[in-house]
Amino acid sequence: MKHTISVLVNNRPGVLARTAGLFARRGFNIDSLAVSTTQDPDVSRMTIVVEGPDAVLEQISKQLYKLMDVIKVLDHQDEAVVNRELALIKVDASPAVRGEIMQTVSIFRANIVDVSDRTFTIEVTGSADKVDALTGLLSKYGIREMMRTGRIVLSRGAPTA
């Protein structure tokens, strides 16, 4: 099953390599990884989506804690969270299908952020499911290029860390 974990780390050079390296060498698969700074400039936050049974997750979390630069690991499993992902999708858009695509985009509350003779570039924000659904619908027109940020997550309500 998929787990989303947040890892708070010291904002120092090499910390991303240490964390990602740990996943690689212990054979844990990363589905997605997003990193940025936080309200505290000394702390970065990573949101990592991993696939695996609970026991593996526990092992990942314990191994992460062994890194000196890891301050906190949060597994959002049984918790209300806000989770978002942003995708940019460049799709073939011949005049004949433009109207159809624009309708789909508006149903998904997505935006067309760039237009060319033959393509639209669409920005969509939401849960991974929503992004999956939209890309599914758009695929029949021909997706030229696509980039997803990977999931980012915060717990609802008062801060956990």
Binding site: G14, G21, A55, Q59, K62, Q63, Y65, L67, M68, I71
Partner: protein
């Protein structure tokens, strides 16, 4: 006080109580070696290969319980440390590796002798640092010693660019370390300890299975008290050897692949196993899902990540082994378990350790060394059959008495580690039990021992083979001996020892063993090597084949 980076480093080492550095100079370390020129209170031992420096620091740390320090120049010097650092990491040994680095402005430019050693050693260090500011030196070194020696110990590397060694700083020694992401748990959870005691009290066939953590924590007294109070026999892994006195009637020797049959049967039959400072290594468990199938586990370890990694315990207790055992022993009831002891005694009688046939047998040689040293020597080993025979035939009474590369299984570890151990324990006889293959992997350290007047003893069990590999080929590959014969090309070790300025002795027959060992014991100003021409085809027995179970155990 203002001083240069290199001086600041030396000042920190002094304050951390460092008495010796094992090192090898080079361009990126010149400022540090210049400071060493005037340093009288910290001994520098010049090795002949940086791998030797790392193993010597490791042997020093294992024998003393203190942090070992090694040092190498940038690029090839640093990469030569890698095997030694990995060896220390696998066995949780506290060492500090200091590497020279090209000046900060040249980093990332493929400068002469540049290697990304912090990148390379990321997976094999507990932590590592690249120093970029001289002002960070006191803090970084202090943190390094703290990290290496606390919690589950391990190696820490500090990469030290040459310009930072020369830059000036205002020296201020922090009085404490601040590492928000690092707080080892030392005290076991009282509830869990209580429940563990209940589980142990309810056991009919309890067994202690102790590992390297017992040595690291110095928890022998607590472990023996627990065993005696609750009538529990103990099996100690290669890493845990000496953590329970092997002449104690409750001691069952080593478990696992080359463990005693009775330890393996006891593991198989036990109903409660108290796993102490150990990590359920595959060399102990064999086929994991068949391992100790009837048992519930109490697992005590300082590293939370070890709990549940291989075996899910009924009762996990995270904490310092010594403290947890100290608490646990107060809670368990006195017990005898006479029936269980009778069963174990039966196995001991039915499957005693021994060997067959005549000729110069390695097992006999180690027994003789044990006799001559009254069981009090520090035993360091290489890797292979020699290592297993040393473990089987040199019973140890004390912690930190048996020093061997268990996790990584590094051939070439023994001689340099013995040098480090002898520096740590000049009061003890230190023997390297070696193989003819392994000893050639770091034979150059003979020169280190001669120059440093470090009188280690080296017993080469010379079977003319990469014996352990030969044994596997014999047993599991139809005796198709592929690339394991060393007979041609191996130097005359006696002449070689003499060429280094050491003492060399040769033993061809059983009757010569005692005399040679006694002669070696008398050498006190230089290393002494004995070349034992042992029976070539001897196998280490018993043996549970890799991934097997007790039912697959070969006895001879």
């Amino acid at each position: 006080m203002k001083m240069a980076g290199a001086q600041a480093m030396m000042e920190v080492l002094r304050r951390e109580g460092v008495e010796v550095i094992f090192g090898y100079p080079g361009g990126s370390l010149l400022p540090i070696y210049d400071v060493l020129y005037d340093t009288k209170d910290i001994r520098h031992i010049l090795v002949r290969h940086e791998q030797g420096a790392a193993h010597a620091a490791d042997g020093y740390a294992r024998a003393s319980g203190k942090v070992g320090v090694c040092m190498a120049t940038s690029g090839p010097g640093a990469t030569n440390l890698v095997t030694g650092i990995a060896t220390a990491a696998m066995d949780s040994v506290p060492i500090i590796a200091i590497t020279g680095q090209v000046p900060t402005f040249a980093i990332g430019k493929d400068a002469f002798q540049e290697a990304d050693i912090t990148g390379i050693t990321m997976p094999i260090t507990k932590h590592n640092y690249l120093l970029t500011e001289a002002a960070d030196i006191p803090r970084v070194f202090k943190e390094a010693f703290y990290i290496a020696s606390t919690g589950r110990p391990g190696p820490v590397l500090i990469d030290f660019p040459r310009d930072v060694q020369q830059a000036e700083l205002e020296f201020e020694y922090p009085d404490r370390v601040e590492l928000p992401g690092y707080r080892p748990t030392l005290e076991g959870h009282p509830k869990m300890i209580e429940r563990a005691a209940e589980l142990i009290d309810a056991a009919e066939r309890p067994l202690i299975y102790g590992g390297g953590g017992v040595n690291a924590a110095g928890a022998q007294a607590e472990l023996v008290e627990l065993a005696e109070r609750a009538g529990i026999p103990a099996t100690m892994t290669l890493m845990g050897k000496g953590g329970f006195p092997e002449d104690h009637e409750l001691c069952l020797g080593m478990p696992g692949m080359h463990g005693t049959a009775y330890a393996n049967y006891a593991l198989h039959e036990a109903d409660v196993i108290i796993a102490v400072g150990t990590r359920f290594d595959d060399r102990v468990t064999g086929k994991l899902d068949m391992f100790a199938r009837s048992a519930k586990f109490v697992h005590i370890d300082i590293d939370p990540a070890e709990i549940g990694k291989n075996v899910l315990p009924t009762l996990p207790i995270v904490g310092d082994v010594k403290r947890v055992l100290g608490e646990l022993v107060k809670k368990v009831a006195r017990a005898k378990h006479s029936q269980w002891h009778d069963t174990v005694a039966g196995w001991k009688q039915q499957y005693p350790m021994g060997w067959k046939g005549d000729g110069l047998k390695p097992q006999f040689i180690i027994q003789e060394i044990h006799r001559a040293t009254k069981g009090e020597a520090v035993i360091v080993t290489e890797v292979g059959q020699n290592q297993m025979w040393a473990a089987q035939w040199y019973p140890c009474r004390e912690v930190r008495q048996f020093i061997s590369s268990g996790g990584l299984g590094t051939m070439g570890y023994g001689l340099p580690a013995a040098i480090g151990a002898k520096v740590a324990r000049p009061d003890k006889a230190v023997w390297d039990i070696a193989g003819d293959g392994s000893i050639q992997m770091n034979i150059q350290e003979m020169a280190t021992a001669v120059q440093g007047k470090i009188p280690v003893k080296i017993a080469v069990l010379n079977n003319g083979y990469l014996g352990m590999v030969r044994q596997w080929q014999t047993l599991f590959f139809k005796n198709r001996l592929s690339q394991v014969d060393l007979a041609v090309g191996t130097p005359d070790f006696v002449k070689l020892a003499e060429a280094y300025g050491a003492v060399g002795l040769r033993v061809m027959e059983e009757s010569e063993v005692r005399g040679a060992v006694e002669k070696a014991m008398a050498v006190d100003d230089r290393p002494c090597l004995i070349d034992f021409a042992v029976a070539r085809d001897e196998n280490v027995m018993p043996m549970v084949p890799a991934g097997g179970t007790v039912d697959d155990m070969l006895v001879d």
